[in-house]
């Protein structure tokens, strides 16, 4: 078997890249060692956020994604038809809330910085915030509305992108692991070995989320992506009293921090299934997936502080997953400068669902030599902020 591009990983980022590459006319084989959309993509919340991102390259990526998802969601719906479940794209907007005096000013300042970078931002006083979210803790000290924040059903989104990739000609092999590199006499990467035989490839893209380090290692390369565990709580179905994606301001601290200890911030949102999702924790504990009640309790404490009425609501499910994060908190989207023929699309941490589409456009443009949707330089593996974390050339 041969392909122009072998994509390793059938999560949402691999699926989106496979789709973009196949629609660009390349032959694509997707290798997934487990099940499609079965790991990180199936264990998050489906965020498409601009509100949590400070001005910089990731915010630029998020703004592109925010502008692009309505088109992408409509395109997928048209292409896949009514039999395919909806990706449940909802541009419901985010409301970020500070509940302490100390938290009010940093939130306002953060929002003003974002506004300067092109984010739609609306400062809310307490009365306005309570008009937006009547059941919010009235003791709030500051609130900001981010109308661009949106929500997706992450597994349906990943499956839809993958189904669309198949329609564009991509082959998806689940239960198939990339075991190693196939190299030509010059040592150049020209394919991957699998239990089902070698697959020749003009390019190999590693899009294996938090497992990208292992996938790259099998090909003789390294990428400094690490797993970060996140837990989410799901309530019983209930009358909907949470209208937006609602966060406490501490969320920023958690996403921007590399500290290894447990951090939680409250992210509360309703779903079309009439449940409320409550996230989320961030722990650097490797791939340890054991339940820790203290983590759930901390998430619950913050959620109840934000929405006191939730105290009476039963939690029926808890799930957790591993998010891929880079030491400098920026995804890697582009070629491996040390290994010709090897490419990466990983490191999106908790933002991969929302950023998958624009990541695919950015990757595809670089790989096919077309005009990228935004400057790819900040997302290169060769960037200075990663230099200390990379191994050498072979």
């Amino acid at each position: 078997m041969n392909a122009d591009v072998v994509v390793i990983g059938a999560g949402i980022v691999g699926a989106a890249c496979a789709r973009a590459l196949a629609r660009a006319g390349l032959s694509v084989v997707v290798l997934e060692r487990g099940a499609a959309a079965g790991a990180t993509s199936a264990r998050g919340e489906g965020n498409l956020l601009v509100s949590d991102k400070a001005p910089g390259p990731e915010l630029d990526l998020a703004l592109h994604a925010s502008a692009d998802w309505p088109r992408l969601a409509a395109e997928l719906a048209d292409e896949l038809g009514a039999a395919f479940p909806s990706v449940e794209y909802q541009r419901k907007g985010g409301v970020v809330v500070a509940l302490t005096e100390a938290g009010a000013e940093p939130l306002r300042a953060f929002a003003n910085g974002q506004a300067a970078a092109g984010v739609a931002v609306e400062h809310l006083d307490a009365a306005a915030a309570l008009a937006f979210e009547p059941d919010l803790n009235p003791a709030l000290t500051a609130a900001v509305h981010y109308p661009q924040d949106a929500q997706l059903q992450p597994v349906v989104a990943a499956e839809a992108l993958l189904a669309s990739a198949r329609l564009a000609g991509a082959t998806v092999l689940t239960g198939t692991e990339a075991l190693g590199a196939v190299r030509d006499r010059a040592g150049r990467l020209v394919g991957v070995r699998t239990r089902a035989g070698d697959i020749g490839a003009g390019a190999v893209l590693v899009a294996a989320g938090p497992w990208s380090g292992d996938a790259a290692a099998a090909l003789g390369a390294d990428v400094p992506v690490r797993p970060r565990r996140g837990m989410v709580l799901v309530t019983a179905r209930m009358a909907q009293r949470v209208r937006h994606k609602v966060y406490d301001g501490d969320y920023f601290g958690a996403t921007q921090s590399a500290a290894a200890d447990l951090q939680t911030s409250s992210v509360v949102e309703s779903t079309p299934g009439r449940t409320v999702l409550i996230g989320s924790s961030r722990e650097q504990i490797g791939f340890d997936d054991r339940l820790r009640v203290e983590v759930l309790a901390q998430i619950a404490r913050r959620a109840v502080r934000l929405f006191p009425f939730l105290a009476d609501t039963p939690v029926i499910r808890a799930y957790g997953g591993f998010r891929p994060y880079m030491p400098d908190h920026l995804p890697v989207v582009g070629p491996d400068h040390r290994h010709p023929g090897l490419w990466h699309a990983t490191g999106h941490e908790g933002a991969g669902i929302g950023l998958a589409g624009v990541t695919a456009s950015l990757l595809c443009a670089q790989l096919t030599g077309t005009e990228p949707p935004l400057d790819p330089a900040p997302f290169q593996l060769a960037r200075p902020s990663l230099a200390a974390h990379l191994g050498g050339t072979p």
Binding site: Q90, K92, A131, R274, D312
Partner: protein, 111 residues
């Protein structure tokens, strides 16, 4: 119709338990000490008390706390398995309708 075995006709002859009263959506139902809330409802011939999202009636199905079909709001606490909860005198039971939302908006809809 579901019913309580009349004590006089029951060869088992359970002890005569004291009566209790609960309200279901405001209406008073008489029961016996020791009955579950689902038991009180079934003893009155009520086999359904919840309404699903699609608008269909549900009541007890598994009877042992596994299926959660029989949940109701008890004394203000939602999603109580009525087959597992003993009725207490004065319990206020409200039936749950999963199809309604109390502010009238659909989930996810913006104000």
């Amino acid at each position: 119709m579901s019913e309580l075995v009349p004590r006089a006709a029951d060869p088992i002859r359970p002890a005569a338990a004291s009566p209790l009263r609960i309200t279901v959506d405001g209406a008073t139902l008489e029961g016996l000490q020791g009955q579950s809330i689902a038991g009180v409802l079934l003893a009155h011939g009520r086999t359904a008390w919840r309404t699903t999202v699609a608008g269909h009636p549900r009541g007890a199905f598994c009877g042992i706390g596994v299926c959660f079909d029989c949940v109701a709001t008890v004394n203000g606490e939602s999603d109580v398995r009525t087959c597992m909860r003993r009725a207490r005198d004065g319990d206020a039971v409200e039936t749950q309708d999963d199809g309604t939302s109390n502010d009238g908006t659909e989930p996810g809809e913006r104000p």
